[in-house]
Amino acid sequence: MAEQIVFYILATGVLLGALAVVVPPFARNPLHAAVALLTTFSLMAGLFVMLSAHLLAILQIVVYAGAVMILFVFAIMLLNLRKQDFSPAKITAWKILGAAAAFLIATRIAMVAGAAVSTHTAVDLSLEQYSTFGSVHDVGIALATKYLLPFEITAILLLVAVIGALVVTRRQGGLR
């Protein structure tokens, strides 16, 4: 029972945070949106813990709440946006239709998927398993064996991102 309560609290928090990012009145200011996003990310880490994804919960904090948020905040500071940088809010029919479509997708998928998995129950992990499931050890083994190749290739992805970011933001000249 306690678990359910925690889940619903966290879920509500996550959703509210996400909505705060997206729904205009709460997030005129990008900085406010960033704070809301930070909330979402952090609460999400809690949900990860509930799913026994301990390592990822930590990474969620480190990568998202840490690195990604810092990037956002940097960008916000760098651009120093003011309100007049934006034309008056436009709510177009396409956007409404698109948002409605996204909403429809979500409800439909939730219904279909919910029906499809209604009989699924979580695998019962033994106590021993439970203590290691989602730990650095387990995930590390997966990364070093099955996911070795993607893990290595992630390096190239990051390299591309670095070069790309430099290329896009440099003012003139070469890579330096």
């Binding site: 956007k95 698109g98 479509a101 997708i105």
Partner: protein, 655 residues
Amino acid sequence: MIKETTIQSLLYVIVFAPLIGAIINGVFPRVLSRRAVSIIGVGLPAISFVATVLALVGFLGLRSADPTYTAVSASLFSWIVSGPISVDFALWLDPLSIVMTLVVTGIGSLIHLYSVGYMHDDPSYARYFSHLNLFLFSMLLLVLGRSLLLLFVGWEGVGLCSYLLIGFWFDDMDKAIAGKKAFIVNRIGDFGFLIAMFFLIFALGGSLDIPSLRAMVADPTSIFHSNTAMVTAVTLLLFLGATGKSAQIPLYIWLPDAMAGPTPVSALIHAATMVTAGVYMIARLNFLYVLSPVSMAVVATVGALTAIFAASIGLVQNDIKKVLAYSTVSQLGYMVLAVGVGAFGAGIFHLMTHAFFKACLFLGAGSVIHAMAGEQDIQKMGGLRKKMPITHITFLISTMAIAGVPLLSGFFSKDEILFSALALQHSSGTVAPWLNKLWFGLAIGAALMTAIYMFRLYFLTFSGELRSPDAHPHESPASMTIPLIVLATGAALAGYLGLPIPGKNLLHNWLAPVFAGGASAINNTGSHTLEYALMGVSTVVALAGIGLAWALYRGPWQHVPAKLQESLAGLYKTLVNKYYVDEAYNAVVVKPLIGGSKLLHRWVDAGLIDGIAVNGPAKALAYVGRTARRLATGDVQTYAAIFAIGVVLLVLFVM
């Protein structure tokens, strides 16, 4: 004695010599001197012609050694092997393709020679010859291709070259548009051709290789004999291709516009060779066509209607090339009528004689236009008889030939078609018997009109006095008159290849092996007495037409045309405007297409709201108008929204 292997090598020479010319002149247009361009441009087609003659001699030798000998096949390489389809890049020389090749290379070479004089001052001299040679190559591929696919390659190739050459003087936008029109109309036909090939393979399990296909069809237990509906569909789709290429109703509209190109091009492509491709294709597939009486009847009817329809338009045209263009459409109608009634030999015969006299007429017209410094309106000509004696004589001979004056080539070939229209019937006899009379009636009517409009053209151009005082006409140079003389000779004499004497008809005997399969399905209900009687009739018709033309344009009734024009103003206007066919096409096909695309464009651009706004209340209208402008795509988030809408549609659709 020329060996079979030699003929095979000659085949390659025939086909590829013009290609080499096209490449040389196309790649080094600025390096070569004008003289070199002419030598290459004319020389290589001439080589091709000589090789054809040699191949003919060799073929005759082989045939005399072995009377059952039918064809030489030369396979270059295996072209496509994919699934059940295997097509060789192979050439195929049989009596029919020999006739066609001789016409193409022979008349082609003459017209190349003529072009040396005609195009002499053109800045894009090399490009012209390059395109013309490329055309010859494509045409030879069409004629000599052993498989339908190779034939189709040639078929599209000639269309492309035609497009390039019609638009040759592209400084004039109308001409470029005429080229495009030709290409697109042709493509409608090609669509039929392509679909027909697919049906042939998949619905009938046929082969694209023509000899194999023929062998398959010869088997009376094959699906071709049981599934007549599909055979009809295939043949009609192929005929759609033919109506495009051979300018038949309803796709003839491109040919008159195609006269925008240089006159030698009109002579070669739009009179002598390319436009006959449809007739050739039907004759080539005669064994398939005779399986479907319905298709045959459709072919013949379309041909007969085209013949009279175009002839009636030709009566009132004033542009010298337009008259000849409609005349070509009309004569092509005759050929299609011939193959439609099963007189394949007669169709090819008329194709050949027509190639001579129509090429000669076009070149003569070119000579006239050249002499009149570009003037094409026959109302402003006249009296050229004295100024241009050679052009005059050759033009007159060809005019008489096309009008059907006895003993000239057109007389024999046209007569055979008239006779066939009346006397030949499909053996299954499923189609109404009165059709024969209809075809005959239309054809004879067209013959009368032909005589009238051709001699109207002749009288207005060559006799009387010159009606534009500023012009200083002069005879053309030798490179132009020599082809005229050769062609006029041909126009006079080619008919003797097909004299209507039983057993002595050289052309029929020659082509007999090709049409053997098809001929068996055709009954001849006429007699030779009938044939000779018809000759009398058509002589009378031709002479009556000539007499009428003389009376109306040179003789005592000269005031009548103007009066007729007045009293029959409606009809006259309809004719001058070519029955408003172009306008109808515009209204029915082109406008809706463009309109539809514009509509869609606007719809996507401006969004659904725009449409609602039209009827919405005023206030909403103002708001929505702004919204709609903002909605004009280009906005990335609109795209994202549409992406999501697309996904939701899929989601709702699938789940």
